[in-house]
Symmetry: C2
Subunit: 218 residues, 2 copies
C-alpha cells in the first residue's frame, strides 16, 4: 500500500516535469511568433494551453485523492502542497505564453516588435525558456545548486525588462503608443513568467533543504 | 485536543479576513494616490505591505504546524490547502496595490491619470475594493450566493479594462507614450487584482459546495 502510494507521488513529479516541457515549448513558440509575426505559431500556443490546464487538473485531483485515501505524514503533506503550488505556477506560465501569443496574433500581419527591440525580446524569451527548462530539471533531480541559479537568471530578466522600458520611453521612440503599450505588457508577461519559474525552483529547494533560497544564497 | 484544533482553524479564517481588510485599505489608498498624485498615500501603501506579507507567513506556519502535529482528515486538509491558496492570492493582491502606488510615486508630482480617464480608473479602483471586501465577507460567512457575485464584478472590471485601452489607443490620445505605458500596466494590475479576488471567493464556494462556481452559475 505504502509503495503504491510513493509510486503515485513519483507520478506527480513526472507530470510536473511534463508541464515544464509543454510550457517551455509554448514560450519558445510564443517568442518566435512575436519576433516573426507568425500567426500559425501563435495559434499553436493558444490551442496547446488546454493540455497544460488538463495536466494541472489531473495533478490536483490526484493530490486530493491521495490526501483523502491515505493519511500522509507531515513530510509527504508538504510535498503534496508543494506539488499543487508548482502546478499552479506552471499553469500560470502557460497563460503568460498565451498572452504573448495573443499579442502576436492581434498585431498580425504587422510585427509587434520593432527592429531596435528584437534582440532584447529574443533574449527575454531565451532566458524564460531556459528558466523553465532548469525548473523542470530541478523538479526531476532535486538539484538544489541548479535551483539556486534561477535567481541569477531572474536578475538578468529584470535587467532586460528595464532595458525594454528605456527604449520605449526614450525620445528616439518613433513607433507611437500602440506598439509601446503592447511591448510594455509583453515585458510584464516575460517578467512574471520568470518570477513563477523562480517560485517553482524555490519550492523544490525548500522541500529538499527546509530553507528558503535567500537563506542559502546569503 | 480536537477542539483546540478547530479553534486554530477558526483563527486561520480570522487571519484571512484581516488580510482582506488590509488589502482593501491598500487598494483604496493606491487608487486615491493614483488619481490625486498623493505621494504620502502611495508611501503608506508601499510600507503597509510588510504587514500583509507577515500575516501570510504566519498563516503558512500555522498550516504546516497543524499538518505536522495533527493528522487532519481529508475535509480539514482541503480547508488547510484552501487557506494557503487564499492567503497566497491576498498576498499577491497586496503586491498589485503596491505596484499601483509605485506608479503614482514614480509620476509624482505629475498625475499618472489624465482627466479623460479619471472616472474609469476610479471605477476600477472601487470595484477592486468592493471585490476584496466581498471576498472577506465570503470567507467570514461562507455565503455562497455572495461568492458567486464576484464573477459579475469581474465582468465589469474586464469591461472597464477594455474601455481604458480604447481611450489609450484612440487617435484622440494626446498624452504620449509614457502615460499610456503606465496606464496600460495599471489596468493590468487592477484586472489581475480582480482575478485573484474571484479565486478567493471560488475557493470558499468550492469548499462549501464541492462544486466550482461555473458549474453552479450555469
Amino acid at each position: 500500500m505504502r509503495d503504491a502510494y510513493h509510486e503515485e507521488l513519483d507520478g506527480l513529479a513526472d507530470k510536473l516535469v511534463e508541464m515544464t516541457r509543454l510550457v517551455r515549448s509554448a514560450m519558445a513558440r510564443a517568442t518566435t511568433a512575436l519576433l516573426d509575426a507568425d500567426l500559425r505559431l501563435a495559434e499553436e500556443v493558444i490551442s496547446a494551453d488546454e493540455q497544460i490546464n488538463k495536466i494541472e487538473t489531473e495533478i490536483e485531483e490526484t493530490v486530493f485523492d491521495l490526501m483523502a485515501r491515505q493519511q500522509p505524514v507531515a513530510g509527504d503533506l508538504r510535498t503534496l502542497v508543494s506539488t499543487l503550488r508548482t502546478s499552479g505556477d506552471l499553469e500560470r506560465m502557460g497563460d503568460l505564453a498565451v498572452h504573448l501569443a495573443k499579442t502576436a496574433r492581434r498585431r498580425h500581419p504587422e510585427g509587434a516588435i520593432p527592429p531596435e527591440l528584437q534582440s532584447t525580446v529574443l533574449e527575454m524569451g531565451q532566458i524564460a525558456e531556459r528558466m523553465v527548462a532548469k525548473a523542470g530539471n530541478v523538479i526531476a533531480t532535486q538539484d538544489v545548486a541548479l535551483g539556486l541559479e534561477l535567481d541569477a537568471d531572474d536578475d538578468t530578466m529584470d535587467r532586460l525588462h528595464r532595458k525594454l522600458f528605456d527604449v520605449l520611453l526614450s525620445p528616439k521612440w518613433k513607433h507611437g503608443v500602440e506598439p509601446a503599450v503592447d511591448i510594455s505588457l509583453a515585458g510584464r508577461y516575460f517578467e512574471r513568467f520568470a518570477d513563477h519559474a523562480v517560485h517553482v525552483a524555490e519550492n523544490v529547494v525548500y522541500l529538499v533543504t527546509g530553507r528558503h533560497p535567500e537563506e542559502i544564497n546569503n
